[in-house]
Symmetry: C5
Subunit: 361 residues, 5 copies
């Protein structure tokens, strides 16, 4: 249901340990180095192949896709001076999005929602280290390529991105992560809308199930988007100097998106709670209607059946020639049967009148 | 259900893209230039026809109705130095109301509720750029003319409006946007009041549906009025110098209106929740009443019917001349039938007594 | 349900317009001027008859009862320099309680709860303008005289009131307004207590209705008392100099009363929610009990009736002299009937045993 | 239900008025004067008998038990310079716990919970005035002696209490007041625990009632303990100099106790809400089970009874010698009855099968 | 249900008293003294055997397992200058986690969750005193050895722990305490997931019980983890100098873990509330389904049974030779029976049609 990854209680925080359930497949390591004039992207196999970083020179973007190779991660950590606690969080995926300032770099954790073709939802943790002149991104799953649009923008040289520094790149990636929630929410809104039409008319267990699914997805989105909002807020108020003022205007826009997403999530939660209420009340109303039919039919026919039973009794009017005039004389009356039918019809008629007045029919 | 407009995840924020579901029809562009002595309103077709703006000269109000012409918007942006991120928000309608300070102007987003003759509710985004000496307003839908009363006030030269600057105009428009919620809330209050009378007496599925509609409208109002309150609050505490102290007294009044609206929304939410509860309890109470009738009738007649059935059995008192005295001797008793009826009446009587004591009848 | 008074959207805020549903009857205007030694109360017809105000001289209390005369209000506004926005709020009764500081006076709105002899609740808006040496109070309804006890205290010269300035008079009136909630809450508490006793025993639709009324009254009280608390808090922290330090001690006491009232309202809300729950559960429990009786009686007698039906069938043991031994031989057994009765009794006995064990009987 | 004591709306706050429902019996007045070396306790009848107070000399503790003597209270107020508003709060018992700083003393209101031998809960207001060198405590009810343990500690000279000043005495009393909630909560916890076991198995109206009682007690505790926490917090941050730094360490401990109590109250509220839910669901489940039995029995026997009814019909196969072969030939078949029984058994068998599959049996 | 330990109301806070329900068994006292080069662990029997502490010398870790020996605790308190109020909290186990700064040391209370082999949950209070150069830990229960992994790390000399001071040791222990919640939460998540699958299909009382257990465990976890978060936060912002800056980076990580745990707890609470809703709605739906079956079968067969009853009546067509043509002539019609069967079939057919249209079949 929820990813819980943790180190063994009492274990040393300075030793890297493999996390459970890590997506298999070998990790991919590549770097992109660019400035306004030139760009170079290269897939490498060891940390040693990475070029030198200069704070004012070309921006270096190191991408690690997959976290199954502990040694590679350790090397990367040593090369860029990353704190063991941060690397531990990279491994224990499912972290709450957060920003942690270290002496010379920022450690950022974000969670990206992904939907495959079958509509199944999954989450991928994106860990980032933003330092002077470089950005390291570490993704959990090597099989996805979620930052392809950013690579295209870099390659195409369109927009501002090539003129800007690593902090703008960091913004562009965070914006991508955040905006991935919009299409999910859009399709969720559609499902809720179609559910809404059905629930009022024909409440069924199936819808309850779907509503529950929607609520769970909303809970998950909320769980990750809420802290992402805080992440963007702390970046906006960052004082480390790693985020330049120009970039903050863009981060504010991204922050706005998280607020919009939270707003939508809250609205959808309200809608689904309301649908739940409607569902329950519809079920109650339907039971009520069923009961009404049962009651009306039973109440009309049970007394009539009793009467029929009475006149079906075998009390003998005669025995051995002795007449017993008190025993069911009505059965021997010439108009007994018609009068009996009239009586029954009258009883039914008054009952129907009563039920009509009570609006049960 | 909710407007969700967003840019493609990973796309560059500096390129304008058309939003989905934008109301069709060509956009209208016009400007109004006024000071205490003179006023001029003109419909134009290109941005180049706009007059020059001087911070201390006549106030320039540029109105763009409709957002389907990207090029026009782009030109407007270039003419007044508007930020691409702000223009993106103008296009992605359905934004949360907000104020964003840019270097020399304020960007304000507001949401206006509209009700057509059939009572259908819709929302229109009003985007404003307030700069020194000018106000640009961009409305989503070219077919509505929601600021007509303000134009009249300007033309008539009544009130303070002609003596004041662009910030007062901005206030007048925001006030118009906010006050549009009042008549909607008034009619909503009437519906709730009439629902209240019906729900207690005759709960029906129909009312549940209406309640749900009310709640959704309230949720929507809340979603837009709540941040509008924040918008007015930040304008009240604006330090850019674009809002003068005199105008802030008026903005405070408008801020008060949003609080009043929020108050009403909360009260109506309480009322509709309470009505929902009453509805559910009435349904339960009604089921209870129906059950009572069913139970009373069944409990009285089922035992009697059984007795009638017993004496309708065909056990033979004689076979081939052999008398079988144990087989239903009561059928052959001279007073069998009257005694049977008395017994039945007695059973019914005691049951009725029991049910009366239980207050089920 | 709730008072909604608003100006037409887009209208100028500087023009006074009559509010809907204003209590009819001509407005009464009177003033009271007093210091420690002398007091003078006079009913007047025009603003021009009002005496001069000196900040250090005798306190002037101007009372306007009824708001149907726009011209009178306008004159009053001009005489004392009241802001048009404040006068608009005086007219649009049903305002949220608030304090608004203007350059040389404070504008205070309070809502007083009133209960007539039939127990019907209504609200009256009391608007106050507190300036140096004067207090103007404007009440919505000319037919009530809610400040009589304060007039008595002034006339009697008892207590501190004659020795104090306009701010103390303002406190005395606010305290009167606030304390009017106490008797209402006291009688509400009594109703809840008597409801509590009934709901558990005999839940009826009537009680649901009463509970709903209580909840609505609580919601209304809350809606007005909550902001009144804020009003008193801002007066306590007033820095305009219009509220002297000595008076703040008294205002703090009044502030305490609002907290006490809020506390009571919250407690009563809890109680009525709890009563609602009890009501619903009692209804459920009662339905359960009814079902139990129905089930027990039906379950016992339906199988027995079936058996009686079986032996009431007319399968012929003989036809045209031919004996058919398989057709209902039990009917012709000498002990057929007693054995049948014993069987029925046994079935009933075991069912009763079963239901006893299930605690359904 | 809740104590509501208030002055008449509009009355002067400077005149003491007797409160309603004040416990009868004459008030007791006594004082205790102590320092590290000596202690003297004396019951007196008038305020004039009180010894002089010196800020640095022996501590003077004045105790007034009972508030029915207005004159005595007035004298006490004049002797120690107590504010009339504070004395009004002393009389209007049922105040929210609070601290009010006056020029040279602190006014503290606390509420002590008391449980008599029958388990009945009541509240007593303890009002305190803490000044330099003296502490005045005024209790509502003369018949209780709740501070006996503190008197013993003073008399015994054990602990720190004799070495400390009036602020430590004030702490000791507040601590006593707060700690009185613990045993109440302990027994409440026991009741909840025993309720928990019963509710799941045999839900009954009685338990609902008990739960409601628990919730009400919790609401009351919460209503008084929550502000007591604020009282202790303001004493902790007191800047009047009346609370010394050493005493604050002890007050912090007392503050901790209120947090612990609030924690327990919240936990118990959760538990009782949860129990309510379980209760309701158990009732629903039980109704469900009853319905199942009814449905199974009815569904099996009603069709069979119908069949028996069919073959109990009196259609004549012969009339006046004329044979009518279409009228109920099965009754005259030699195996009619056995086949009929087999058919009935088969129907019952398949129904039982169906209900078994549905898990209704 | 909850541990409530408290001192007698009114008792002196400076005298230690044994707490109720303290785990039996003699307490164990041992110390560990280490620096980067050497380590020494020794079990002792009296406080006098403890070595001297120097702020800059080797770190001294004193462990007391079990709190039944008041004298030992008193001695420890005197040796290290611990405040009696802190020692009282050590004894009254079940304290809310907290940090209390004393003049030269910090007093920290934490609560560790423990799960034995049967899955039973218990809590153990860990009290810590952190001073310059020493750490004292006092555990409630002598039978558990929860800090074994930390001892191993110290003995092994791995990681940073031997190079650091007492504050790092304190961090390591707190981290161990906090991380103990993770495996509990993991197994709780598994239970919820398996419950989720069952509840929708076959709601049973048993599941309600399990859900209630889950919710209670979550409430308990929340009750202790929430304040533990505050504990870590105050340690992070500690200004006593006892926590060095290097250690704060580690404490921040531990703080993060508490946030993650709170997050999980909230998510699980949401899930269990949602499951409760589903459970209730499933029960309602099932009752609905049962009612439908009952209603359909009853409604079809009750009228038919009535008809059969009618034709089973014994009205006589002849008496003493006198023909009574109005008495049940249909019984003597040659096609009476087939026509009767056809009529019954038709009634049943139309009822089935009606129920099909209502979707009750």
């Amino acid at each position: 249901m929820f990813k819980i990854r943790y180190s063994i209680p009492g274990a040393s925080p300075n030793v890297l340990r493999a996390s459970k359930h890590v997506p298999s497949g070998p990790p991919k390591l590549r770097f992109t180095r660019y400035d306004q004039n030139a760009i170079e992207t290269k897939t490498i196999t060891s940390v040693a192949e990475l070029p030198e970083v200069t704070p004012e020179g070309p921006v270096l973007w190191v991408e690690l896709d997959g976290i199954s190779d502990l040694q590679l991660l350790q090397n990367l950590g040593e090369r860029f001076g990353l704190h063991p606690l941060a690397l531990e969080d990279v491994l224990n995926v499912g972290q709450r999005p957060k920003v942690e300032p270290y002496s010379d770099h920022l450690f950022i954790v974000a969670q990206m929602i992904l939907q495959d073709e079958d509509g199944a939802i999954s989450w991928e943790q994106v860990s980032m280290f933003l330092g002077p002149g470089f950005l390291i991104t570490i993704e959990e799953d090597p099989s996805t390529d979620t930052f392809a649009p950013v690579h295209e923008r870099l390659d195409g040289g369109r927009g501002l991105i090539r003129k800007q520094r690593a902090d703008y790149l960091c913004y562009a990636l965070l914006d991508t992560v955040v905006d991935h929630s919009f299409p999910i929410l859009e399709s969720l809104g559609d499902s809720l809308e179609s559910l809404e039409e059905v629930v009022l008319k024909t409440p069924e267990n199936q819808q309850m199930h779907q509503l529950h699914e929607c609520k769970r997805l909303l809970a998950m989105l909320r769980r990750y988007v809420w802290p992402e909002r805080e992440v963007l807020n702390s970046l906006l108020h960052d004082e480390s100097g790693l985020i330049r003022r120009d970039t903050k205007v863009y981060l504010r826009d991204c922050y706005d998106h998280t607020i919009q997403i939270m707003d939508l999530i809250e609205s959808y939660r309200d809608v689904s709670s309301s649908l739940m209420e409607i569902y329950l009340s519809s079920v109650g109303m339907r039971t009520n209607e069923i009961m009404r039919v049962l009651t009306v039919i039973s109440s009309i026919f049970i007394p009539l059946t009793f009467l029929a039973g009475v006149w079906g009794m075998n009390f003998q009017a005669e025995k051995d020639g002795r007449v017993m005039p008190w025993n069911m004389p009505e059965l021997h009356h010439p108009l007994g049967y018609p009068m009996c039918l009239v009586l029954m019809a009258a009883i039914a008629f008054f009952q129907i009148l009563y039920f009509k007045r009570k609006k049960w029919m």
